[in-house]
């Protein structure tokens, strides 16, 4: 008979009023066993889990001592459960509108799925257009279909969908409320272009006399105007004006105004006095698809990025390979003309390295193989890939590796030590000519140091969490791991949800992922949200903290401590209040309150003292004097 049935049977036969399950931590299976109790007619909160797996079996080697500890934990839990009160779940309604933060491929996918089901979605994007990093890519591995060809239709659908409400050039500033009932403040940055009037004709961009390096979309190898389109297929099809480079703003609002002068719309679309706006949205669920930042390759000075002209990043190469990019798809050196004859591609730049990031960025092996293939195809150059391990675990990925091997690309197993513009000796110099870059590496399979002369180096810079991920995490009440990626509720069994109900994570915000995985997660997050919406209301854990107002001195010590922003201070009454729906029952405030004014349901002093008594019962006994 299965364990659950055994418990059910015992509850019935022995008329049990309390249940303790000594097994794993409540994290995963508390719900399961509470369900058993509920099915048997008990109040589910009269059961408890004693964690003897995480707290004992997994962490001790001394079996005798571990067994004693397990007994103590069970005994403590038994004492505690006796003091448990029957509780009722808190039921909250779910607002059917959804917020999606991040307009890259994961966010677009999530938004479209929810919208297709017939519910309203607010899609917030920090940049001026949807698209994210995928819009910058040229081809996608392993099939080599053009990124724009498969992304643009999705962007366009999201832009045109009546249920998707787009906020580009916008950021979420504040999130209040709780699952089903979030109030979100969105800051709309001024575009200085009227969204309602502008037809996207582009005359303003054409007439703007200011040319600056585009270090966002073109990754620094192309130019844009001071008023510009984020890129050709931008959604929405609206330009944006950059006040930091616009002559009119630099000159303290004087001069130029060419964009305004030539704008053909009536009234004029250029709005120099446009102000920041704030919009308040009511949503039930939030999907975070905030993506990643590229590792700053300058942090590894021995690779020469920023110092040696012909050292490029993988993102620069993506733009260079793109037919709509700054070189019209030609792979050339920094001089803009010369096709390289020898190209080195360096894997694991800033990844798998304790000096920078410990994680594997997951996509760079395949991206580098793709780059090798494209460079070979376009220039006929000798291409060298420098790798520690080739990781190709996706569908058709290793087959692509085989194809690149067959292309005649060279593979050197070794982490590149340094890249130098200076030859070792005159013989090396005359062999390789001026302008050669030398990649110094140990060819670990040959067991020798090699210096491989190349014209161009491509650094496969890794994926990093967004630089502001910890602040963003705080805004949404979720946590980042020590390396900065958002933490999921359960790494394997619940990789989309977070510890905050109603906040989900999709795509690279939770860790490096390729496009198929990001798209899947976007869909998965949408499915979770739709599930909540269809339920209409949600039962929440009644394990909550509450304030005994008569005891609260208004000291506000607890106010800043709540990781879920559930605590607020009522000025009129000078007391603190806890929002039961936001509170996750973590107990931080309960422990911090100097007046003992905060009670944790399920964590009353009575319960805790009883548990301690139980834990220490055997210890007390063994310390009693022995009678000889």
């Amino acid at each position: 008979m299965a364990g659950q049935e055994l418990i059910e049977q015992d509850i019935h036969e022995q008329q049990l009023t309390r249940v303790v399950v000594a097994a794993c931590s409540p994290h995963l299976h508390e719900k399961t066993f509470r369900g058993v109790c509920e099915r048997s007619g008990m109040n589910p909160y009269l059961s408890e889990m004693a964690s003897i797996r995480e707290h004992v079996a997994w962490v001790h080697t001394d079996k005798v001592a571990a067994t004693a500890k397990a007994k103590a934990i069970v005994s403590g839990t038994v004492e505690r459960v006796l003091k448990n009160d029957p509780l009722e779940a808190i039921r909250v309604p779910i607002d059917a509108q959804t917020l999606v933060v991040g307009g890259g491929i994961a966010g677009i996918q999530a938004a479209l799925e929810v919208a297709e089901a017939g519910y309203d979605v607010y899609l917030i994007e920090r940049e001026a257009s949807l698209g994210g990093h995928m819009a910058q890519f040229d081809k996608t591995f392993p099939t080599l279909d053009c990124a724009a060809c498969i992304l643009t239709p999705k962007m366009a659908s999201a832009g045109a969908h009546p249920k998707v409400h787009l906020f580009t050039w916008s950021e979420v500033e504040k999130v209040e409320g709780f699952v089903g009932n979030y109030t979100v403040t969105v800051k709309k940055k001024p575009r200085y272009v009227d969204e309602d009037i502008c037809t996207g004709c582009g005359i303003c961009v054409e007439k703007c006399p200011v040319l600056v390096v585009d270090d966002k979309f073109e990754a620094g190898i192309g130019y844009r105007k001071a008023i510009y389109w984020p890129f050709a297929q931008a959604v929405p099809n609206l330009p944006v004006l950059d006040t930091e480079t616009c002559t009119y703003y630099i000159g303290g609002k004087g001069g130029c105004r060419a964009c305004e002068k030539f704008c053909p719309t009536v009234p004029n679309s250029i709005k120099f006095d446009q102000k920041e706006e704030r919009v308040t949205l009511k949503v039930g669920n939030i999907i975070l698809a905030t993506g990643w930042d590229l590792f700053n390759a300058r942090r590894i000075p021995q690779y020469g990025y920023g110092r040696l002209a012909n050292v490029f990043t993988n993102l620069e190469l993506e733009r260079m390979c793109n037919a709509a990019g700054p070189t019209g798809g030609k792979v050339v050196l920094r001089d803009g003309q010369t096709a390289p004859k020898r190209v080195g591609i360096v894997h694991c730049v800033g990844s798998r390295d304790r000096n920078y990031n410990r994680h594997c960025s997951a996509i760079c092996c395949m991206q580098s193989l793709k780059t090798a293939h494209l460079v070979k195809e376009r220039t006929g150059a000798e291409v060298y890939n420098f790798y520690i391990d080739i990781r190709t675990p996706g569908k058709e990925y290793d087959e692509f590796y085989q194809r690149v091997l067959d292309d005649g690309v060279h593979f050197v197993r070794g982490k590149v030590a340094e890249i130098s513009d200076i030859p070792f000796d005159p013989a090396e110099a005359s062999r390789n000519g001026a302008g050669t870059l030398y990649i110094q590496v140990e060819d670990t399979l040959a067991g020798m140091q090699r210096r491989i002369p190349v014209d161009m180096v491509v650094l496969a810079a890794g994926l990093e969490p967004r630089r502001d991920s910890s602040e963003v995490g705080k805004t949404f009440g979720i946590a980042c791991s020590s390396n900065g990626w958002f933490i999921e509720k359960h790494a394997k069994m619940d990789p989309i949800a977070t510890m905050t109900e109603g906040v989900f994570v999709a795509g690279c915000a939770g860790g490096p992922k390729d496009i198929p995985a990001s798209v899947s997660q976007g869909s998965a997050a949408a499915a979770r949200v739709l599930n909540y919406i269809r339920q209409g209301e949600l039962a929440l854990e009644p394990v909550r903290a509450s304030v005994l107002e008569e005891r609260c001195s208004g000291c506000r010590i607890c106010n800043g401590l709540c990781p879920f922003n559930a605590i607020s201070f009522i000025e009129e009454r000078k007391v603190t209040e806890i929002n039961a729906a936001l509170c996750q029952g973590c107990g931080t405030c309960v422990a911090a309150c100097p007046a003992g004014a905060i009670q944790g349901t399920g964590f009353s002093n009575e319960q805790l003292f009883a548990q301690i008594e139980g834990l220490l019962r055997d210890v007390n006994r063994s310390h009693e004097p022995e009678v000889v």
Binding site: Q302, C348, R352, D353, R354, N355, I388, R413, G414, K415, V416, A417, E418, Q440, V441, E442, D443, T444, G447, M448, Q449
Partner: protein, 174 residues
Amino acid sequence: MSATPGDNRLNLCIQCGSCGGSCPSGAEMDHTPRRLFALIRADAREAVLRSNAPWYCVSCYYCTVRCPQEIHITDVMYTLKSMAIKAGLFHDAALPGFSETFVDYVEKYGRSFELGLATRFNLRHHPLSLAGMAPLGLGMLKRGRMDLTPHRIDGMAQLTAILDKAKALEGGLQ
């Protein structure tokens, strides 16, 4: 090995070769540091201790700061050298010879002594090159940049006592 700071990190080595690639004398080494670590794992004690690699180490610490696993490679090289001396296993006596000559001077005088060091080392190991290096030594003398006699520190007895005690303790450790 266990006495080397950070030596226990050797089992973290992922054989990437950033050490062997970074080494200024890597091209001259019979085994790169990476290969030495693989040999250590394979229990190839003699091959490891006979290697010229630790002796060619110039203590530039490139390998140490670049190692993605933060292995203290330069310190491991020091340990391998002292182990090789103790085991009497090195393929070219000239390599430990320089270190030992240096140590001798320090232990006799408390200071190093370039003229003695260079001549004694070269006399013993490269007698033919001595004549070639003479102009350099002469140049140093002429410029007042080298002593003809070694300088002995006052606290020689104290230093000897300290070093003897340290070596006794070190013996106890190994």
